[in-house]
């Protein structure tokens, strides 16, 4: 049987051991947090065509994803992008997308992703997703972790089609792809 004293020292030792070992963590940032902040920055470098929303209206950033994705976007709610206030809308269903200026799509079945992006093709909705698969399906911006760092990819073809303009300052940092969505 362990005495209280022994148990305490054991816990203490374990904590010390763990705190020593996890130093590596303090130099890095959790991916989902970076995704949300990067999305905010992408919004800042994007201009929407005039009729997309009126001058006073907020910039609606719609998030489709699980609770962890949604939580990470809470931090950028009410932040400014140019002279607009970001308003986060957590989507439960992929409905009424007309209100979104930016749509962040976390994981979505292949079979549903493609038709959705096809429907949004000519609408002024900036679509942001998490990998190249997303760009190939017709998405505009892909954020992917490659070798421990985030890589930004932009599908210029899709951006142009929707009449959105992404600042050249952002394009310079991005891996540019020019992919028309594959139609067989």
């Amino acid at each position: 049987m362990l005495t209280t004293k022994k148990t305490l020292s054991l816990i203490a030792f374990l904590l010390l051991f763990l705190s020593g070992l996890n130093q590596a963590w303090s130099r890095s940032v959790e991916k989902q947090t970076v995704l949300a902040v990067l999305t905010l920055n992408i919004a800042r470098f994007t201009s929407w065509p005039e009729p997309a929303f009126n001058a006073e209206a907020p910039l609606n950033l719609c998030v489709f994803g699980d609770n962890i994705v949604q939580q990470s976007f809470e931090a950028i709610d009410n932040k400014k992008a140019n002279n607009k206030t970001i308003h986060i809308i957590n989507l439960s269903r992929l409905r009424n997308l007309d209100r979104c200026q930016l749509l962040y799509l976390s994981k979505l079945d292949r079979s549903r992703l493609k038709p959705l992006l096809m429907e949004l093709k000519t609408r002024p909705v900036l679509t942001v997703g998490e990998n190249m698969e997303f760009l190939k399906a017709g998405g505009m911006v892909g954020l992917e972790k490659i070798n421990g760092k985030m890589q930004l990819s932009i599908n210029l073809h899709a951006v142009k089609q929707s009449k959105l303009v992404i600042s050249s300052r952002l394009l310079k940092l991005a891996n540019i792809v020019d992919l028309p969505a594959r139609v067989h």
């Binding site: 904590l15 940032v29 931090a75 957590n90 940092l173």
Partner: protein, 670 residues
């Protein structure tokens, strides 16, 4: 004394301080927000094993076991992975057999839980249940396992009375490249797997795998070997092709062969009235599934699926083979902008050849072969009452089977999201458990009681089939609440009240002298004469204490009320709990611990009702990734005791205690 006592406390305080300090990482979001895009693209990013509630908008008690979960508890089979889900009673009978049920009624022949692998039902009509020892998948290719407690009959059909388990494998595009697994240990004597996936053309990807294992035997209470060792080999493939922008096709299949040893105990007329021998149960089977999916738009699509499934199982007492063909169609569409409709229809044809060993003169099967048909259709509408806030789902399954005829299984569910951190749901549903081949067609000699006094005949307790045996039914009431109100914590509460009727009951007839065998026969017949209620709830909690340290805590409560004396319904622990800690010390090192507690439970066997004591068990996994694509892990299972009993099988085998086990494993991705 005092001083001595103080020292460790100071030590503890100091280390706590140190610990707290080191956990303040620079991941504070406010700091990040001020970074430029260049900086954001240059910082070191880590992915964390956070637990997502991906189905948190479903008005049902859903728990998702992800690929990461399966890996990090060191599961070597699907049942081991299922131990993570609250409300599921997962009890290991022996090395290869399992008793798994949701919300009570557990047993080797647990018949109120429906299980599907990629849309293919693995619930067999033979005895109404799942042969878990024969159902296996390449664990690394599982995308997720959805465990739904409560009736799921409206979508999935009969026998989803207390739950549905959907095992969903990865799209072949997500399992590309090579994967080699090798390992072994004390109980898992040896296992290996190889998978290779590649792109066949611009629009087609595929993978193929082979996997095998050999397991050691467990022990009896006496300490003697239980003779339950066995092995299995399984292979399979999956191919996914994007036929056009709107159409995709999936073809997949598996084949297996297993040889499991068993110490069989069967009753017999001559003294000593039972016969005890070792045998090998030889089983093999396979399946082929094809599914086409067509998208009209993001809110409208249809899928058509067909599969063929075959198995054969040979043991002394029972030889059985079964062929099943199933065709299923589903169509989803939006109506008037506030209805999401889904409807479908299906047909299943099943042919079996069953042989019951009748050498004892009592066992009998009414027809050695039977062809069964099942016709089904369903419709379900999700109505948006208030945008993003309130939904009502109503629907019903209608089916016709050859055993109990027509069945309707409706449901009504309400989902309310008053605030993004709160979700409430409620449901009322009906579901049925349809009769099995065993219920309708098979007579069995259960046991032979030795003569009470010299000159009196032995008593033969027999179980008689009843072709009039009807479906068991439930009306289930459920409530659920999910919240993320506390930072980094998500809590999922569910409560249920299940009202059962027409439950299976063994009705004992009057003893008759059997001159041919010289026995007093005590016939028992299956009838539908019991009512009963269960109520209880489950709590599933996830606490992301630190980026690299997560806790999962689950608790389940189950109360049973039976209105019949001769039928025991409470065959699952009243309480069970699990505490799981997942630590990723460094990006290349994990320490994972799982504690499980199961209250004592009853098992109802042919010999009567017995109790299985409560138990606590602990599993630990240590994993190290020296290079990115290589992982070495060490897993200890059931570490707290040498051996413990989880369940006693109803018939045929003696109680088997599960031994402590250790194994090492190597996983190489290339």
């Amino acid at each position: 004394m005092d001083q001595k006592k103080k020292r460790p406390n100071q030590f503890l305080q100091a280390s706590l301080l140190c610990f707290t300090y080191s956990s303040i990482t620079y991941s504070g979001q406010n700091e990040l927000i001020n970074l430029s895009v260049e900086d954001l693209l240059n910082i070191e990013v880590v992915s964390v094993a956070k637990k997502a509630k991906s189905l948190n908008d479903s008005p049902a008690a859903i728990f998702v076991i992800t690929q990461d979960d399966i890996k990090r508890i060191g599961a070597t089979s699907v049942p081991e992975a299922l131990r993570l889900a609250p409300g599921l009673d997962v009890a290991r009978i022996d090395s290869n057999k399992w008793a798994i049920s949701a919300r009570g009624f557990n047993g080797r022949f647990a018949n109120k839980l429906l299980v599907l692998i990629d849309g293919r039902s693995i619930y067999t009509r033979a005895f109404a249940g799942v042969y878990w020892e024969n159902q296996d998948v390449m664990l690394e290719d599982i995308e997720r396992i959805e465990v739904i407690r409560g009736p799921g009959a409206t979508l999935w059909g009969a026998n989803a009375v207390n739950g549905v388990i959907n095992i969903i494998t990865k799209h072949s595009a997500d399992s590309q490249g090579g994967l080699l697994i090798a390992g072994g240990g004390t109980e898992e004597l040896g296992f290996g797997a190889f998978r290779y996936g590649r792109q066949l053309s611009a629009d087609t990807t595929a993978r193929a795998y082979i996997r095998g294992f050999k397991r050691a035997e467990n022990v009896r209470q006496s300490g003697d070997g239980a003779g339950d060792d066995g092995d299995k080999v399984q292979g399979g493939f999956r191919l996914d092709s994007q036929l056009s922008a709107q159409d995709s096709l999936t073809v997949q299949g598996d084949a297996y062969r297993s040889e499991n040893n068993q110490n069989t105990v069967l009753p017999q007329r001559p003294p000593p009235y039972q016969n005890d021998f070792n045998e090998t149960i030889d089983a093999f089977g396979g399946n082929l599934l094809i599914r086409q999916h067509h998208s009209f738009s993001s809110v409208s699509d249809y899928s058509i699926q067909a599969y063929y499934d075959f198995y054969e199982r040979n043991e002394y007492f029972l030889k059985e083979s079964r062929h099943t063909i199933d065709i299923d169609f589903q169509h989803r569409f939006a109506l008037l902008d506030w209805n999401d409709m889904i409807w479908g229809a299906g047909y299943r044809y099943s042919h079996d050849d069953t042989y019951i060993n009748d050498k004892n003169g009592f066992n009998k099967i009414r027809s050695s072969s039977r062809n069964d048909q099942l016709f089904s259709a369903f419709v379900q509408d999700e109505i948006t009452l208030i945008n993003d806030t309130l939904w009502l789902t109503v629907g019903s399954k209608f089916e016709h089977n050859d055993y109990s005829g027509f069945e309707a299984q409706p449901t009504a569910r309400l989902m309310w999201v008053p605030h993004r951190q709160h979700r409430l749901w409620g449901a009322v549903s009906r579901a049925v458990r349809t009769p099995s081949r065993l219920d309708h067609d098979v007579d069995i000699l259960g046991r032979v009681l030795p003569p009470q006094s010299p000159g009196t005949p032995p008593v033969a307790v027999t179980f008689k089939a009843n072709p009039q045996f009807d479906s068991e039914q439930v009306i289930s009431y459920e409530l659920g609440y999910r919240t993320t109100i506390i930072d980094n914590v998500s809590i999922d509460f569910t409560a249920f009240y299940n009202d059962y009727s027409s439950l299976i009951t063994v009705q004992t007839g009057s003893p008759i002298f059997n001159p041919a065998k010289g026995t007093m026969d005590l016939p028992n017949t299956f009838t539908n004469s019991t009512k009963g209620q269960t109520y209880g709830g489950e709590i599933a909690t996830v606490w992301q204490m630190l980026d690299w340290w997560r806790w999962d805590v689950n608790y389940s409560l189950l109360k049973t009320v039976s209105e019949s004396q001769n039928h025991t319904l409470d065959k699952s622990p009243q309480q069970s709990a699990s505490v799981r800690s997942l630590i990723t010390l460094r990006q290349d090192f994990d320490i994972d611990i799982l504690f499980r507690y199961a209250d004592s439970n009853k098992t109802v066997s042919i010999a009567g009702t017995t109790t299985v004591n409560d138990y606590v068990s602990m599993d630990i996994r240590l994993a190290w990734r020296p290079i990115r694509d290589l992982e070495i892990s060490l897993v200890g299972q059931n570490l707290l005791t040498d051996r413990h009993l989880e369940y006693k099988q109803e018939f045929i085998t003696k109680p088997t205690e599960i031994k402590r086990g250790m194994y090492g494993k190597l996983v190489w991705n290339f």
